[in-house]
């Protein structure tokens, strides 16, 4: 594999590999690099590649789903109650942000363990919304 890699703009790389030409752009964050190569995105973790809470919202680890707000917004309506069983894909909570209502859904089946917010609440980015177990 013969790779010719040049940083041609800050964080933008021209790569010629075996005669093929690629353009790659890098965005660093605290614990990873996001690398876009010809429109496809890859995450290169710096630390523990299993720590996947980075992008917020419903990250499913070992059955437990910890739903957080990925950006500032307002809770329009909570669609479930504590103790309620939910199915994969079931709507849990409606949040409005940037003039758009977004229904957050369960990634897998479970039971609502805890609801942190109620209708009309203003939430900050990263704020816990509810927990499914």
């Amino acid at each position: 594999m013969k790779a010719d890699i040049r940083e041609i703009e800050p964080a933008v790389y021209s790569v010629i590999l075996d005669g093929k030409s690629f353009l790659a752009r890098v965005i660093p964050s605290a614990d990873s690099y996001l690398v876009e190569v010809d429109g496809q995105q890859f995450v290169q973790e710096i630390s523990d590649p299993r720590d996947a809470t980075r992008r917020g919202t419903a990250s499913a680890t070992a059955g437990r789903q910890n739903l957080t707000a990925s950006m500032p917004g307002k809770v329009v309506r909570v669609l479930v109650m504590e103790g309620q069983a939910v199915e994969a894909g079931q709507g849990l909570i409606v949040v409005e942000a940037m003039k758009m209502q977004n229904e957050l859904k369960a990634a897998k089946p479970g039971r609502v363990a805890k609801i942190h917010v109620k209708d009309g609440a203003t939430v900050e980015a990263g704020e816990a919304l509810l927990i499914i177990e």
Binding site: V35, A97, N102
Partner: protein, 497 residues
Amino acid sequence: MFHKVLIANRGEIAVRIIRALRELGIRSIAVYSDADRASLHVRMADEAAHIGPAPSSQSYLNMERILDAARVHGAEAIHPGYGFLSEDADFAQACADAGFVFIGPSPDSIRKLGSKTAGRRVAIAAHAPVVPGLEEPISSIDQARAAAREIGYPVLLKAVAGGGGKGMRRVDAEAELEAAIRDASSEAQRSFQSSEVYMEKLVVNPRHIEIQVFGDQHGNLIHLGERECSLQRRHQKVIEECPSPLMAAFPEMREAMGQAAIRIASAAGYYNAGTAEFLVDSESKFYFLEMNTRLQVEHPVTELVTGLDLVHLQLLVAAGERLPFSQQDVSWQGSAMECRVYAEDPENGFFPSPGKIVHLTEPGGPGIRVDSGVYPGWTVPIDYDPMLAKLIAFSPDRKTTIQRLLRAVGEYAVMGIHTNLSFFRELLTDSEFRKGNLHTGFIDQFFERRHSRDAPNPELNAIAQLVAARYAGARKQIPPPQAASRWLNEGRSGLLR
């Protein structure tokens, strides 16, 4: 012609209007909220006026602040763009009362057509077909229940003052009706300062095709053909095109729909730009839905196939001049298609993705037009609609236009925030889309049949690793572990409808 015009809007449409004004030798006045001091429309305008804090209710929807700015800066006319106050008859009236030309139809025309229920009444009187439904807003849950039973489920709730899918709800059964009315009303109130909602029969998987009309103040009223806007996600248009693939099969439809649109506009004494929206059912019958009494987001599609500039024409007729051509001078050439580029994350339920644009490369070259409202280094604010730009392609035929859009999407790079560009890459390669069998349920079906994406390309993955290592090395940071590259789209499917 005017010497100075204020633009009561922001983002790409404000930039679009500044460009038209500059081409006509007219000075432009931008307005901005606290969140928009550094926005593209402010840096491009000749003059700029601060009109209040970030929330649009206190800035872009604040009539008094906008009229004050127009007075202070000596504007002769006000262009409302789309959204915000563009379809507000009271604002059009307030402009006139304050001595400014409102660049749009008369307040009376807006009233006659601006609300969906009023528009339906005009259309019925003008012998244009309409979808069965209420002619008045919903006043009580009992009335709504009775009406829905008569019309038959599924029904559709819509904001009377609305547009863009806001305040809209599909209701499949009576049990859902009350909550749906509550949600739709509250969303309508927040979006349009009016909680009024009405109901119509839901035509299942119709095409959404609209007709651009244009009139002057001397009684000339013409149509500029259709735009097919069937590709919608949550009632928001995603892709628009002209000609509609349906018109290719039934060329006489353009003229039939065009004439229906002209009849409706004429009945309301309409002038300036307007758009009559129609649903087309599976038997190619069309029904008038509503009139948008303003410039549409997707107007560039019509500009490319007709060779006209709709904002130039808006200014011309607002200044009292005659349309400089008539219906038989309008012709349509080639194929145009528009993608609305949003700051949103297709891998995460299309959730809005505001933030700083760290890197931006916009496409160019033959047949590509980008109407952008952003620049590299700018931070997309959380306060407004997350549309970044419109990417429009033009070529002799639909197939080439789609290929051209794909080529342009490949050149388009927005780093630092998520955008729906990757979604367009998938959609534009979809074989059903290419066949042109479009309807408003198309995108939902697309998500269902699109089981999982191709696996990550191992060659690109290897390059990502090389580049990350090089980046880290050059900056003396901890390099990423060599084999730990993770494709970003893994496990995203559970979050998508």
